[in-house]
């Protein structure tokens, strides 16, 4: 929707100028890299702002930049996919987190839908959501150690019950 892009930008700049690291509009999709500690405040402000009406948290996902130059800003990236139903407009908030003990505040206080999405990110990527009511594994078996979607988790290493390669794990992908 035309005009929304500018509205979101000016709202972000007016209220959270310190928290924005940079803005990106690759393929006409607006995204803001923001500081991790400001995320909850930003989301709450966007939620409460009637002009923007960002009510739907469409998705939370994560990326691992292990072994890539982009990891200089932080190895992990958490992507918040926000959608305004009234304005039919989608944009993204992105947060970079360090390789060591990545953690970020939970959004479950604001959106119930964040519950399972954050659990999945925790399970698959090992990012801790501080304050989450039930941060437990969701997709992988209880016995599985590690977080499979991390880039340094071997692709074909099945553990532990199918141990054909237990003593000889394949080379780490990449």
């Amino acid at each position: 929707m035309t005009g929304m892009e500018e509205k979101v930008r000016s709202f972000m700049k007016a209220n959270f100028a310190d928290a924005i690291i940079r803005e990106d509009d690759f393929r006409q999709q607006q995204s803001f890299y923001v500081k991790a500690e400001a995320l909850v405040d930003i989301c709450r402000a966007l939620y409460d702002e009637p002009e923007l009406d960002v009510r739907l948290l469409a998705d939370i996902t994560s990326l691992d930049w292990h072994g890539h130059p982009a990891a200089d800003e932080g190895r992990f990236e958490v992507v918040y996919n926000l959608y305004s139903l009234n304005h039919k407009y989608r944009f993204f908030l992105k947060v970079r987190l360090p390789a060591n003990a990545p953690r970020i505040a939970t959004l479950t206080d604001l959106w119930n839908g964040a519950n399972w999405m954050e659990r999945e990110v925790w399970d698959m990527m090992g990012i801790e959501f501080v304050g989450h009511p039930d941060l437990t594994k969701i997709l992988t078996p209880d016995e599985l150690e590690g977080h499979p979607l991390r880039r340094d988790f071997p692709l074909t290493w099945e553990q532990p019950q199918f141990s054909w390669n237990k003593d000889n794990p394949p080379e780490v992908m990449k």
């Binding site: 739907l56 039919k88 959106w111 399972w116 594994k137 078996p141």
Partner: protein, 390 residues
């Protein structure tokens, strides 16, 4: 007995009414559900991880295997995302054919939903009827892609082959038959007192809650929110078609049933329009080095053969960046977030699964209700565990 006492029972993962391997741990007091906790992950196959290790082309078949009732929708979402990443513009014929196929998928998925949901609630004959009609859709899939379920027919930049010669006849035949039989379904269920008692006022969710739980698709529209990505953010040429967005008012299982029936009708309308207005033209975009050249050219033209070989062996390099493409799949917003690190494989493919997100609201739908309503609630969410667990 004055003190109240709860017991915990385990439903699934091998339970015919959980549509696959869903397990729900229920804490019940008498017949009332106090607490419900869905447990998923029994069908986790690491599709997102697998896709990271494949070339863009070769990651496509993995998408069929998520929501196996709607393979074309999954193909479409993935291909649109890659096309947006590579800035590929597809020919008009491809757009129209894709819309038609995606709507056939919706008919397929909703028919299976209708049959199994009615079966869960005791109306066994529905399943036999809807599966009969579903065969017609699968026949069209088979004619197009050679397979009945895992079609991989929609490819990056176009289609796998040209549409089969009798495609229009087959689709017209299907829309005519299904439209007639919709009437039969309605006579069996819509005014059926048992069905109404089992669904009306059951698994209710308000519009505010639905949005707060990030629900999409029929789950959201059933509560009266008129949100459909085909209208809100048209993709693949949906702005050319004339159709209505179906929506409910009460947000209960009965409304979602009526809504899905209406969606089948609207899908049939779109299919008819797509066949009427199907433009002529190539079935694949011409983007050398990125989109596979048509097979006819590969056999007779040197240049096409070289490009074909290069794309199959080393793929194409995508620019550094990330795109998100969402489509309205039968179950809700199906999104593909593809992040590229500049190499020939996706750095990360995130599938935003509508059924997974919708299933998270199950406790909200059943807590405080009767145990038998849990079956109805699970059915009315319309889950496919292949997509929930990926």
């Amino acid at each position: 007995m004055t003190e109240s006492k709860t017991i915990t029972i385990n439903m699934g993962p091998q339970h015919p009414a959980t549509h696959g391997v869903l397990r729900v741990v229920l804490e019940i007091e008498g017949e009332t559900v106090v607490k419900a906790r869905p447990v998923v992950g029994y069908l986790h196959t690491g599709i997102e991880k697998t896709m990271e290790s494949k070339l863009y082309y070769k990651a496509l078949p993995a998408t069929d295997r998520m929501d196996y009732l709607a393979p074309m929708s999954n193909n479409l979402g993935y291909c649109l995302a890659v096309e947006s990443l590579m800035e590929i513009e597809v020919p008009d014929k491809v757009k129209w054919a894709r819309c038609c196929l995606a709507e056939l998928t919706r008919v397929n998925s909703h028919l299976v939903w209708l049959g199994t949901h009615a079966l869960d609630l005791g109306a066994m004959s529905m399943l036999l009827y809807t599966f009969r009609e579903r065969e017609l859709v699968l026949d069209i899939y088979e004619a197009c892609g050679g397979q009945r379920m895992m079609t991989s027919y929609i490819r990056i930049g176009g289609l796998a082959h040209d549409l089969p010669p009798d495609f229009d006849k087959k689709v017209r035949n299907l829309t005519r038959i299904v439209r007639e039989r919709m009437h039969d379904y309605e006579t069996l269920l819509t005014n059926n007192e048992i069905f109404i008692n089992r669904t009306r006022g059951v698994a209710v969710i308000s519009a505010e809650d639905a949005i707060n739980y990030s629900l999409t698709g029929p789950m959201l529209r059933g509560s009266g929110v008129k949100h459909d990505l085909r209208k809100a953010n048209p993709y693949s040429g949906y702005e050319n078609f004339d159709f209505e967005v179906a929506f409910g008012t009460n947000g209960d299982a009965y409304d979602r049933y009526l809504l899905r029936l209406e969606e089948i009708r609207q899908s049939l309308r779109i299919c008819d329009q797509a066949i009427d207005g199907m433009p002529d033209g190539p079935y694949r975009a011409h983007v050398p080095g990125v989109v596979l050249p048509p097979k006819e050219d590969v056999l007779y033209k040197m240049e096409s053969m070289i490009f074909h070989f290069k794309i199959i062996t080393e793929g194409f390099k995508a620019p550094f960046g990330a795109v998100y493409q969402a489509i309205e799949s039968p179950k809700g917003e199906l999104g593909f977030y593809i992040s590229s690190d500049g190499s020939n494989k996706p750095h990360r493919v995130r599938v935003r699964p509508p059924a997974f997100v919708n299933l998270a609201a199950l406790p909200r739908l059943v807590e405080g209700r009767l145990l038998s309503d849990v079956i109805c609630a699970i059915g009315s969410i319309d889950i496919v565990l292949g997509e929930v667990d990926r």
